[in-house]
Structures are given as C-alpha cells and as structure tokens.
C-alpha cells in the first residue's frame, strides 16, 4: 500500500429520501492514488455520494472503507480527509495563512512547523507571499487555490473535491483542470472529484464513474466511456452525439430500411440507437467501402472557430427524418468550399466508428 494514499471501498450504499433514491446500492472500488471522477447531471446523486465519503450525509445502510478501516460510523472530523468545497468555504475572518494553518493548528502542530507547512502548501498552489492577505482581497482563482492549500496542508491520504472549478470562468477553469491534474500526480493522494462537466471529467480523470438517478451507469477510463458508452444516456451525456434508431435482426442492422454495417453489437437483436459523433462523421463525395452513408439536406451551418458545425437532416421515407451533426475541422483557409445551406449532401461514418447502444 502506498504511504501517501488509501484505497476506498464503497459497498451497497443506499440513501432514500421519502420515495426517492438519492443512492441505490452503490458499490465502487477506488484505487489507492487514483483520480476518480463522479460524473452525472444535477440531482444524480454524485454529490450525495461524496458527502457520504466525507461523513456529512449518513446513508440508510452501506459500508465505506478507507484502506481496511470501516469509516461509515465515524464523524467527519475523525476521517482525516481533505476536502475542497464548491464555494471554497474559506473562513472569512482569517487571513490566508490562518486558513491554511487551521487544520495544522487543530492537530496541535507547533508554530514553526505550521509556518513551514503553510509555506509549502502555498507554494504548491503557487500562492507564495500572499499569506498575510485577507480572503476578501483575493480573486476567485486565488480563493480556489487557498481552499486547495488548506485541504492538502496536513497531507491527507484522501482528497475530496465537490465541483471546485464551477465558479471560475472558462479559461481559468481549463487552466486549473490541468494544474489540479498535475498536482494530483505530484502529491499522489487518492482523489475523488465530483463534476457535471463531462469535458472536465475526460480531461482530469484516471477513471470516471457515471452516475444517474442514484445508480452507477458506467465505470471506466475516459477513453472507454467516450468510445464505448454503455447506453444512450451516456452516449448523449458524454460528448456530442446524434442518436439514430436502428433495428437489428438476424445479425443485420437497418436504418430506415437500409442496411448498415456495424463494428459491434450486431449479435444482439431488437431496437437500438446508432451513435454518430459529429467529429467522426464526414462529408463524402463518393461512396467507398468500409463506411456507412446517409444522404440528407444541409439545414444549418455554424462557424465555431476551430470547426464548422453542419446540421444535416437525413431524408427518410417514412417520417420527418433525423438530424445528424457533422463537425468539419477548420484545417486550412484553403480547404475546399463547404456546401451551402439547402444543398443535398452525403455523410459517411466508418464501419469501425459505427456502434449501437440500447
């Protein structure tokens, strides 16, 4: 076992409010030193699960172990975790130094050692020299760093973070994502990170747990979750995607009565959804082997800087048709002209990229 971190075993954790399950028989193993993200929409139970780990919410039943030790009956102040709150929860009546030194003071550390560890923590989060400042004198990003310094100053083996970047603007948030990830790699403490931002989860995590309606939907590396979503909820929630209804029967899949080839999933039988990622679909001049083709009409074309997003309505014989989005990278100003809105187009999707979800 690693000295600076602990593994977390969650089993059968259930929390019910009246008729509503906030968490339903949740079991999850988080490895020592891992960066685990709990990802889900609001109200999914991800924050409840974090609060159970921290000890602020007691489940109806279930077990939470840090290492080999059962902690579910322990009050929060005895769990020895570092925690970063959504709105930082800094102590406004204390300076930066006093905030960061607070956990050390509680642990009876002597003054010289507090000073040294506070300086070390502040330099870890790149806030050297700001120790004497009041909390009100700091920007949002700096407050975020103080909250982080305070959570790591006593070298906890587990660090919990509840949407810590949600109050920052986009640019700063993206910088902090990378910084937090690097910090995790340096300190190597087990980190459980809650977010509703799928891009943030993909950027930072070793593994992601997707939670919805109090249940675990999928657990995997960012790559697995993105490339092989378990169901249409995850396919829709993680990244962009257009979902097209597909019927699979006798190993053959068909969309709108036309046969399509699938990379996986053709052995099942029934109604499924074909996942079309906008960056994987492409505009085709002519049909070549190894891909599925759909013809449709371009109904909208949106310039988004690094790419052009095309909205295409696939022509269909029996109903209004389906919308598919295709992202064309802005590779060069000399790239060939894009089709005009209203024009008929053919879009292609490689067979290797064609899979269905239920």
């Amino acid at each position: 076992m690693n000295e600076t971190s602990l593994n977390i075993s969650i089993s059968d954790v259930t929390k019910k409010y009246d008729q509503f399950y906030a968490l339903k028989d949740v079991s999850l193993e988080i490895k020592s030193g891992e960066f685990m993200t709990l990802l889900g929409p609001s109200g999914s139970g991800k924050t409840t699960l974090l609060m159970v780990l921290a000890g602020f919410t007691n489940p109806d039943y279930g077990s939470v172990k840090f290492g080999d030790e059962e902690v579910i009956l322990k009050p929060p102040h005895l769990r020895g975790i570092g925690m970063v709150f959504q709105n930082y929860a800094l102590f406004p009546h204390m300076t930066v130094e006093q905030n960061v030194g607070y956990p050390q003071k509680l642990r009876g550390v002597n003054a010289a050692e507090i000073k040294r560890s506070v300086e070390e923590a502040l330099s870890t989060v790149k806030l050297e020299g700001l120790g004497h400042r009041g909390i009100t004198e700091l920007s949002g990003g700096q407050r975020q760093r103080v909250a982080l310094a305070r959570a790591i100053v006593f070298k906890p083996k587990i660090l919990l973070m509840d949407e810590p970047l949600s109050a920052l603007d986009k640019k700063l948030r993206e910088e902090m994502q990378i910084e937090l990830r690097q910090l995790h790699d340096t300190l190597n403490m087990t980190t459980v990170y809650v977010t509703h931002d799928q891009k943030e989860a993909l950027t930072m995590s070793d593994r992601i747990t997707v939670i919805n309606d109090g249940e675990l939907m999928q657990l995997g590396t960012p790559n697995e979750i993105y490339e092989h979503p378990n169901n249409h909820f995850i396919a829709d929630f993680i990244g962009e995607s257009s979902l097209l209804p597909v019927t699979v029967r006798n190993g053959k899949a068909s969309l709108n009565g036309e046969e399509i080839a699938l990379a996986e999933g053709a052995e099942k039988s029934g109604e499924f959804l074909l996942v079309v990622r906008p960056e994987k679909a492409f505009l085709a001049d002519k049909k070549v082997k190894g891909a599925n083709y759909f013809s449709g009409k371009l109904i909208d074309s949106i310039f988004q800087g690094e790419s052009q997003l095309l909205v295409i309505k696939i022509t269909s014989s029996n109903d209004d048709g389906y919308e598919v989005r295709v992202r064309v990278p802005n590779e060069s100003v000399t790239q060939k002209a894009l089709p005009e809105v209203g024009q008929n187009v053919i879009i292609g999707l490689k067979v290797a990229d064609s899979y269905v979800v239920s």
Binding site: A54, G55, F56, P75, P76, H77, R79, G80, I81, G82, M83, F85, Q86, N87, A89, L90, F91, P92, H93, M94, Y102, P103, L106, R107, G134, T136, R150, A151, F154, L160
Partner: protein, 295 residues
Amino acid sequence: MTIADMEKPNERGLQQVAANERLTFFGLTLPYLLMVTALIVVPVGWLFYLSFIGRDGSFSFENYERMIKSKAYIRIFLTTFKISILTTIICAAIGYPLAYFMSQLSRKWANICMIGVLIPFWTSLLVRTYAWLVLLQKKGLLNNMAIEMGIISEPIKLVHNTTGTLIGMVHIMLPFLILPLYANMRAIDKDTLKAASSLGATPTRAFWTVFFPLSLPGLLAGLLIVFVLCLGFYVTPAILGGGKVIMAAMKISSNIELYFSWGAASALGVVLLVVTGIILFIASKLVSMDQLGNR
C-alpha cells in the same frame, strides 16, 4: 447642431438625465430631512439650551453641577447602567442560543419560531408590562403556584424591585437582540462549518473558531441596540420597579412633573444623549472593524 455636439454625441442630454436623477433622489429624501429637522435637530437644540438655564432663568451650569455633586443623581446613573448592562447580558445569554438554534433550522421552521419571537414584539408594551405585574406580584400566578406546589412557603418578592424590572425588561428587549443576530447567523455559509469539521475540528471547536467569530457583528449590533434602548427605558422599569428602581428616564419625568424643573430634566437628557452617542461611536468602530474581515 454645434460642432461640440457632433464630437461628443448626446453629452448635454446625458448630463440632463444625470441631473434629473439627482433631483429625484433629493425629492425622495426631502420629507425625511424635514422631519428630522423638525423633530430631532430643533428639539435637541432646544434641550441643550434649556439645560443651561438655571432656576432664576439666567444662563448657568447649575443643572450640570447638581448632577456631579448630588449623591442621588450619581446613584440614578449607576442604577441605569447596572440595569442596562444586566438586561443586555441576560438578553445575550437567552437570545444567542435561541438565534443559533433558529439559524440551524430549515427556513420553514425558522419562520415559525420567528413568529413566536415577533408576536410579543407586536403586543403593546404597556399590556406586556402589566401582564408581568399580574404574574409576578405577591398574590400573583407564579407565587400562588409555587406555594401550592410546596416549593416555597412564603411568597417571594418578584416585583417592585430589581428582579421584576429585569424580568420585564429582558422580555421586552429580547427581540431587539435576536433579530439582527439571527439575520447575521443565517448569512454565515454553512459550508464553513463543514470545512472546519472535515479539517479535523470537533463540533465544539468548529463553533468557537468559526461560527462564533463570524456571528460577532450580529451579536454586537444586537447588544448595542438593547443597551442603548435600556438606557432611556421608562415604562417598564417605572411600573415593575414600583418606584424603588429609579433610572434616568424616570428622574427626567419626575423633574418635570413634580418639580417643574425643565433645566434639570434637560441636563439629564443631554447627558443621556451624549453617553449614548459615545457608546454608539465606540461600537460602530468595533463592528465595522469586524465586518471588514467578514466579507
């Protein structure tokens, strides 16, 4: 259109808009300014003037001299301060835990509690004071009950003394402490307590190192209001003190009603006003300093 208008489009029009806004604000504050002048500035000036008029109608310091020399006056001031300080302390001791409790409840239950705090606040002062007289007197409800239950054999003297005055005043003053304190406590971010707890603080430690310091501005504001109101309080101490507890406001009243000495009454009023002013000044320094660190 002049050249200046072309270089700075709409400059004059926008200046006019700003001027109109200032005029509106002034117009809105005017009734209040008139009222303050008529009801506070002029009478207080008159009070000052009267306090320097002696018995013979000429200018003199005799009203102030009497206050320093007379033992009766010194005793009255000491009583006033003693009663005010005790009332304030008792209000804090009862009000702080209640406000804390209410601040931890859900909005719904806190509002229900708040109605409990406010109903007496809306009831007439006089009614409440006489109600206490009925409850606390020698053959009152409290003494009778205690005797019947065998707790005491002789009625205890609960009214027409300091005890009765304090009971009545605390009851009247409590909402003035609870209201600002509760508002302050509600505004404290509950996550700060969770943070303290996750960082290793026991609930007691978290309370004293985080919640209590953050509630100080509200507590100070409440203490201040209660103390200042107590200094000039008349009705309740007059009725429940039964003439045995004499505070400054009562002396002012007797100076006028019994001795027709407007000068002496005015001088007392001036002293009370100045003392209150000094306390408010000191306290405003304390509170604002605290709030500086607060947000």
